[in-house]
C-alpha cells in the first residue's frame, strides 16, 4: 500500500471522507437513505446509544450536513431532512432553557415529539438490521442454484399439443397491452440548471416577512419558493437567525408544521446576523426576484 494521503486507513463504511475539501471531514449526504439513516450514522459514529443526549450531541452536525443536500434533491426529500432538523433544534433549545421557563403544554408536546423521534429511529434501526440480515441471506442463497433443466426427451414428447386459444387479433391486442408503458413518475428537470441561491439574500426575505407578520409557518415562509435550493437557503438562514436569538421555533407535533416567531427587535440588520458561512465568497448579485415579488404578497 502506498502512503498516499488520499488513502484513509480508518474509513468507516457509512461515513467517508472525500478528501477534496481542504477543511477535511465531509459527509456525502447522497450516501444516506434519508434523515433517519443520517441521524443513526452520526450517533453510531460517536459511539452513542439512541438517547436524548446523543440527539443533542449530533444536532449541530446533522444540521451542518443539511447544507450539503445535493442541489438536485427533490423537495420531498429535502423537507424530510428539514423536519427532523426542526425537531432536533426544538429539543436542543428546550435543554438550554431553565426549567421554569417552559410552559407545561409545550413541555409535553416536546416530550411527545422526542419520544416519537426515538420510536421512529429505533424502528428504522430495526428494519436496517433486518435489511442487512436479508442481504446476507440473499447473497448466500444466490450461491445455490436450483435444478431447472429441460425434460428428458421421452417425457417432453408426451406433452399435449399447445392450444393458443385466441385469434391473431386478440394475440396482437395482448402484446399491445403488455407493451404499453406503465405510468412513470414525472421527472422534474428544472433542477439541472439551478441558479445559485444566496442564504444572505433569502435571509433578508425571511427577516422582512417575520418582522412584519411576527409569526409565520415555515410552509408559509417558503410558499413562494421557486425551487428546493431557495427553500434550503431560507431554512439555513433561519438557523442563523436562531443562533443569533432573533427567532424562535414551535412545532406542535413531530415532523408537523414548524412555526417561526420573530423575537428580535427592529434594529437587527441582516448583515449582522447572517454570516456568509453558507454562501462562501459570492459575488454581489442582483436582487432576488422573489424579494421583489414579496412586496405584493399577503
Amino acid at each position: 500500500m502506498s502512503h498516499d494521503a488520499g488513502v484513509s486507513e480508518a474509513e468507516s463504511p457509512e461515513i467517508s471522507e472525500t478528501g477534496e475539501t481542504g477543511g477535511g471531514f465531509e459527509l456525502r449526504l447522497s450516501n444516506f437513505e434519508g434523515p433517519f439513516d443520517l441521524l443513526l450514522s452520526l450517533i453510531s459514529k460517536h459511539k452513542l446509544d439512541v438517547t436524548e443526549i446523543a440527539l443533542a450531541e449530533v444536532t449541530v452536525e446533522f444540521i451542518a450536513h443539511i447544507k450539503r443536500l445535493p442541489d438536485d434533491g427533490d423537495l420531498e426529500e429535502t423537507t424530510s431532512f428539514l423536519l427532523v432538523a426542526a425537531t432536533l433544534l426544538d429539543l436542543k433549545a428546550a435543554r438550554l432553557l431553565p426549567q421554569g421557563d417552559v410552559e407545561d403544554e409545550e413541555d409535553l408536546a416536546l416530550l411527545e415529539a422526542r419520544d416519537l423521534l426515538f420510536a421512529r429511529l429505533l424502528q428504522y434501526r430495526a428494519y436496517k438490521q433486518v435489511a442487512s440480515l436479508m442481504d446476507r441471506k440473499l447473497q448466500e442463497e444466490s450461491r445455490r442454484y436450483p435444478r431447472a433443466v429441460g425434460l428428458e426427451d421421452r417425457f417432453a414428447t408426451l406433452l399435449p399439443e399447445v392450444l393458443i386459444g385466441i385469434g391473431l387479433d386478440q394475440f396482437a391486442a395482448l402484446a399491445a397491452k403488455a407493451m404499453q408503458p406503465r405510468p412513470e413518475l414525472q421527472l422534474n428537470l428544472q433542477h439541472i440548471h439551478a441558479p445559485t441561491v444566496s442564504v444572505r439574500e433569502q435571509g433578508a426575505v425571511v427577516m422582512d416577512r417575520l418582522r412584519r407578520s411576527g409569526t409565520m409557518t415555515f410552509r408559509a415562509l417558503c410558499g413562494d419558493s421557486p425551487d428546493t435550493l431557495t427553500t434550503v437557503a431560507r431554512f439555513l438562514s433561519l438557523l442563523e437567525l436562531f443562533r443569533e436569538g432573533v427567532v424562535a421555533f414551535d412545532q406542535m407535533t413531530p415532523l408537523g408544521e414548524l412555526t417561526v416567531r420573530w423575537t428580535g427587535d427592529d434594529t437587527v440588520d441582516v448583515d449582522d446576523v447572517i454570516t456568509d458561512e453558507f454562501d462562501g465568497a459570492l459575488p454581489p448579485e442582483e436582487q432576488d426576484p422573489s424579494e421583489a415579488r414579496e412586496k405584493t404578497d399577503d
Partner: protein, 173 residues
Amino acid sequence: MTDQVEEALPVPFAALRPALEAVLMVADQPLDELTLATAVSYPAAEVAAALAALAAEYDDQGRGFELRNVAGGWRYYTREEFAQVVEGFVLEGQQARLTQAALETLAVVAYQQPVSRARVSAVRGVNVDGVMRTLISRGLVEEAGQDGEHGATLYRTTSYFLERIGIVSIDEL
C-alpha cells in the same frame, strides 16, 4: 376418491423415496408436499417425512446437491460451496445485488405486509416510489389490493422473494 386400500399403489412401499427423487429430478419449480403426494399416491405426511429423510441423507453423504424446502416447495439445489464451479453452467447470470434502499424497503414490506407505499415511506423517512417499482419489476414485491380506508395500493412480498432468500415462509425471518 378411489378405494386405496390395497389396490393400485403405483409406487410400492419401499420405493417412496426413489419415486420422489425421480419426480423432483424432472421438476423445474419447487413442488409442495401435496403435489408430490398426488404424484406418488402417498399420504402427505409420509411424503413429508420421506422428503426430510432424503434431505438429511444427501447432507450426510456430502452430495454436491441438496434437497431443500423453500417457499413452500421442495427442490434440488446445488450446494453453496460449489457455486464457483457451477456458475458457468447456469443460464441466468448472477443476480444483481440489491441496493441498500431496495433492501430496506423490502424489509419493511416483508414485515408489514400488506402495506401501502406511504407507510413504507414513513418508516424509511424517504420517498420509496422508485425503489418500489424496481422491486416489483424484479418480481420481489407485488400489488395486494387496496387499502379499504384510503384506497391506497397495498404491497406484499412474492413467493419468488421467499425462493430468492431461501426460506419457507415469512415467519422465518
